[in-house]
Structure formats: C-alpha cells, structure tokens
C-alpha cells in the first residue's frame, strides 16, 4: 500500500512555544486521515507544513513522494487546500475566484471559465456565481472554498476544520461532497475538533495534543484501545441510585458518572454485563435501562488527553 503523505519527526517552534514536538503520520493513498485534537494541539501547524506554507525546524515529510521542503513546487501541484487559513477573495464573485485560480494554475482563459462554471454547477452555486463571495451564507462559502481547492484537480486535499461553525445541514452537505471526492480517488487529510466528523469520514485517525501524536488507529481500534466500553444502568426508581452506583463502581473498579439517573462507567471486560444483572437482581433493583456500548470518540479523546475535545479553545491560531 502506498502512502500519499508520509511524515517523520516534524518539529516546529514559534519563539518559546513548541507547536510540533515530533509528529509522525502516514496517510494511505485514497483514504481519509482524520487529524484530531483541541485548538492549539498542532493540527493546523501540521497541515501548514504539509502544504509547504511552513518549513519544519526538524523532521521530514513527503507528499506524493515529493519532499515538502526541497520539492515544494512539485508538492504544490498535487495538493488542494481548504480551511480557515486558505480562503477565497471575499470581494470577488464566485466565478471570478475560480477563474483566477484556473488562470494561476495555467489554464487558458476559455478553459478556466469552463472549469469555473462546471465547479459552481457541481457545488450548487450557479445562482450565486456572479455575486461577491462576501454575500454568501456560511454553507455556500464553505462550498466555494472547497470548489476553489479543486480547480486544479488535486490528488490530495487538505481540509482544515471544514465544517467549524456550520449548521448540521450544511455540515452534512460538506461531508457528502468529501465522500464523493474520496470515491473519485482523492486522498484527504482532515483536521477537526468534532468527534462525529472524524467518525463519519475518517478511515484512520491520528490524535494530537500539545504537538505530539498520542494515538493512532481506525475509529473502532481507538475505541477498543481506550476504556473500550461503557456500562450504563438506569434504575426504575431513583431511590435505588446509591445501590446502582456501588454495584457499577465495584464491577468497573472506578467511580461511576451519574447524570440524569443514568449511572455509567468505562469497563474493559464484557463479562461485567451478566454480573451486573445478577447483582442488581439480588439487590432487588428494578432496571429501566441497561447497556454495554462502545465508547464514543469523544470519550476516547477524554480518556487519551484527560480533557474534552472542545475544551481549551481560544488558544489562537497556533
């Protein structure tokens, strides 16, 4: 299996802060890699290094087999970049933005125009084609950003938090577009703060925190790797809550979380389920809800980093 992106030991410092403290990652051709982590974890810095926008202080990276420092010009011919830091020109119309990019990528005037119209049609922006981008809604703007990164038919697409700030419907639209691209053979590097986004799109996930990779694997592997499963019990009578907490706590060997009369705790052994049923039955507790379920990526992240994904935001743009 070939790797579209391959990076080893990437280090980047800004003054006293270390944004990347030795990041390794590999993305197989034709797959989606989700780069997960809170703000300031080093996601955007990683993307900027891989997009030739930043030189790493140490380490190497190859994109499509080309070195991002020594063969930057070749790398730039392979990639498309979308996200908060690679934007379209708001004062230009949709069609003018795409026309400019087509011209810069070496298309003739006629070809650039044709390509612009084609992309605008595919991204359902025909009606807004001749309006300045600053008049677009959030969802339209993201679609235009995505279209802009596809003018040159890139083999690799970097999506830097593509759905941050979008409503659920627009988010689903962007997801569908990304799935369509991957079906067409594009390799995607996706950074996100949203667990469900990574769960939805990514074949593989790399979790970063404080400039380091702290976990790698498929979404399912990550769920198995950490805490694996969650045992959740809701008694029919809230008066039984203390009994349930003590039973679940004993089986999981940890203090359970209680919210909304639901007692839950991470467990690593599936055999606790029959044990829980037996013990609660012996204690005459009537159960309203009993479940053993896989951890969500949110819980995985919490287990890995000790804080929730959307925590310490406002750390600025790395």
């Amino acid at each position: 299996m070939t790797h579209a992106i391959w990076a080893e030991g990437l280090v980047k410092r800004f003054g006293d802060t270390t944004a990347l403290a030795g990041v390794d990652l590999a993305v197989r051709t034709g797959t989606v890699l989700g780069l997960l982590g809170p703000n300031g974890a080093g996601k955007t810095t990683t993307v900027r290094v891989l997009a030739t926008l930043l030189r790493p202080d140490a380490g190497h990276a190859k994109v499509g087999g080309c070195d991002v420092v020594r063969e930057a010009h070749k790398v730039r011919q392979l990639i498309g970049l979308t996200g908060q830091y690679a934007s379209v020109d708001e004062t230009l119309t949709g069609v003018e933005n795409l026309l400019l990019l087509g011209r810069l990528l070496g298309l003739s005037r006629a070809d650039a125009k044709r390509r612009a119209r084609q992309l605008l049609a595919e991204f359902r922006l025909e009606d807004a084609a001749d309006r300045p981008a600053k008049t677009y809604s959030g969802g339209m703007r993201r679609r235009l950003d995505l279209a802009a990164s596809l003018v040159g038919r890139p083999q690799l697409l970097y999506l830097d938090e593509p759905t941050t700030g979008l409503d659920p419907r627009s988010r689903n639209e962007v997801w569908d577009l990304v799935r369509g691209l991957v079906a067409g053979g594009v390799t995607v590097l996706l950074t996100t703060q949203y667990m469900d986004e990574a769960d939805q799109l990514a074949d593989e996930i790399v979790v970063v925190d404080h400039g380091r990779v702290i976990a790698t694997g498929t979404p399912d592997e990550l769920k198995v790797k950490t805490g694996t499963q969650t045992l959740a019990v809701r008694p029919a009578d809230p008066a039984d809550l203390p009994t349930v907490v003590s039973v679940v706590g004993e089986l999981a060997r940890t203090t359970p979380e209680v919210s909304n009369n639901l007692v839950s705790a991470p467990v690593s052994d599936g055999a606790v389920l029959p044990a829980a049923v037996r013990r609660l039955d012996e204690a005459d507790v009537v159960i309203a809800e009993l479940a053993l379920r896989s951890s969500s990526l949110d819980e995985v992240f919490l287990a890995l980093t000790g804080h929730r994904a959307e925590d310490d935001s406002q750390e600025g743009n790395e």
Binding site: T52, H73, Y85, A86, E90, D176, G180, V186
Partner: protein, 271 residues
C-alpha cells in the same frame, strides 16, 4: 448527491519550477484580480477618483485667491503638489490590500499554489501602478480644465509621470512593510493618514516655501515631498528640474534600499 465526476484527480507530470513566462502570466492574473476588485468595492472608486477631484476643487477655489491671487494661478502652482500627495496616499492601497490578504487567508491560498513566490506581491504592485496612472491622468485632466497649462512638452509630461511612478513604487515598499506589520487593514490607512498628511503639508506642495515661518522653511526645503513636487513642477511647467529630479531618484533609491529588505524580512517572518 450526484457523483462528482469532474473532480477526479489528474495524474500530472510535475514541473520542477515556475518558468519565467508562467511567472509573468501569473503576475498579470493577480494584477487583474486587484483591478476587478474595484468593480465590487465602491470605496476604492472613491479613493481613486472622487477624493482627488474633491481635493483639487476645494484647494483651487478655497485657497487659490488667498495664496496666489487667483484660482487659475494657484492651480498652475499647486497641481504638481496635489498629484504628489495623492500618489503618496495611493501607495497605501498596496499595504492595505496585502494586509487584507494576510488576515483573511487569501495569501496562504496563493502560497499553496504552484506559482512564482514573488507573484502575489508583484501582481499587486503592478495593479497599484495602473491605479496610479489613472489618478495622475485624472488630476492632470481636471487641472487643465481648471486652467493649468503645460509649458514644456509631451516628453517632459511623460517623464514627470514616469518619475512619479518610479518614486511611488519605491515608496510602496514602506507601505508593504506597514501592511505586513499591522494587525488589520484599517491600521494601514491610519498610518498613511498620520504620516502622509503632515509630510505633504509641511512641503511646498500647496504653499510656496517663503510664505512659511522661518523655522519651518528649513524642514520644508529638505522634505522629499518638496523635492518631488519641484521635480514634477519643473517637468510640467517651469522647465528647470535637473537637481530635483536627481534628488528624487536618490530618495527613491534610498527608500528601496531601506524598506525593501525590511519588508521582505517581515513578510517572511509573518507567513
């Protein structure tokens, strides 16, 4: 969602670098972009056209009689000065636009493309030079309507425009530096206002040097705005301008030597 068929990746033969011809094309494409923006931004049109026209009309009819005896005589003296002042203000659009690109992420998008590294800046400066030509031509035209007469020849007029463009391209390095250093576009405007306003009024652009207090005259005489205004005035009407032209070119060279490296270094550091 229908399958996206036209976005399937191509398998390109990768070019090792940008050829010079490609580089030139990219500069023109980016200059086109800066000029197309004017269509969608009425403020730019005001900066480029309405403001110079308003200033020349106000100055000519409000101060003309008081300073030179008649509006017609005053416009003959002041036109060179107002052209210089207006062109200096116009250099700020370079830094303003660059800062806008940097803060909005457009600059990163451009840098991620396989284009010449210098194209985004060069394209912008080319577009701003076109805007300069437009403003200078506009002021010359209005000046003639208000009574200004060229007493030299067409070659000297062309030389005056060329000298202005050379000086302003040099001065735009300062604008680039400011555009890279400040955090938002409006601060470029504020800088321009704080520096260019006093600089151009403490020159002989609008009032002859001998009408000012003695302590101010010493500064007025060495002010580069005076030097450039004298050079343009000489090329357009009075004729004798060898000294001021040479000094203007030296100032332009000085501006490039000082501010170009600072601007490039600041830009490298920011991106």
């Amino acid at each position: 969602m229908t399958a996206i068929t036209t976005t399937a990746p191509r398998t390109p033969a990768l070019a090792p670098r940008v050829t010079p011809l490609e580089g030139v094309r990219q500069v023109f494409s980016l200059a086109w972009r800066s000029l197309v923006q004017i269509r969608h931004n009425p403020m730019e049109l005001i900066d480029l056209s309405i403001q110079p026209v308003m200033f020349i009309l106000l100055f000519t009819y409000v101060f003309g009689t008081a300073i030179s005896g008649s509006p017609r005589d005053y416009v003959q003296f002041m036109l060179a000065g107002i052209i210089v002042q207006n062109s200096l203000f116009a250099t700020m659009t370079t830094g303003f636009g660059l800062n806008m690109d940097l803060t909005k992420g457009v600059f990163d998008r451009l840098r991620s493309l396989p284009i010449a590294r210098s194209a985004p800046l060069t394209g912008r400066i080319l577009a701003d030079t076109v805007k300069q030509v437009w403003s200078i031509g506009l002021l010359l035209g209005i000046g003639v309507i208000l009574g200004f007469r060229v007493h030299t020849g067409p070659l000297q007029v062309l030389a005056a425009v060329a000298l202005l463009l050379v000086f302003m391209m040099a001065a735009s390095w300062l604008s680039v530096l400011v555009g890279v250093l400040v955090s938002e576009p409006d601060k470029v405007q504020i800088f321009g206002f704080m520096v260019i306003f006093p600089l151009s009024f403490t020159s002989n652009a609008f009032v002859p040097t001998d009408r000012m207090p003695g302590w101010l005259q010493a500064w007025v005489k060495v002010n580069p705005v005076t030097i450039l205004a004298d050079a343009v005035r000489g090329l357009l009407s009075t004729g004798a301008a060898g000294g001021p032209i040479l000094k203007s070119l030296l100032w332009a060279a000085g501006l490039v030597v000082v501010f170009a490296p600072l601007a490039v270094r600041a830009l490298r550091r920011r991106v």
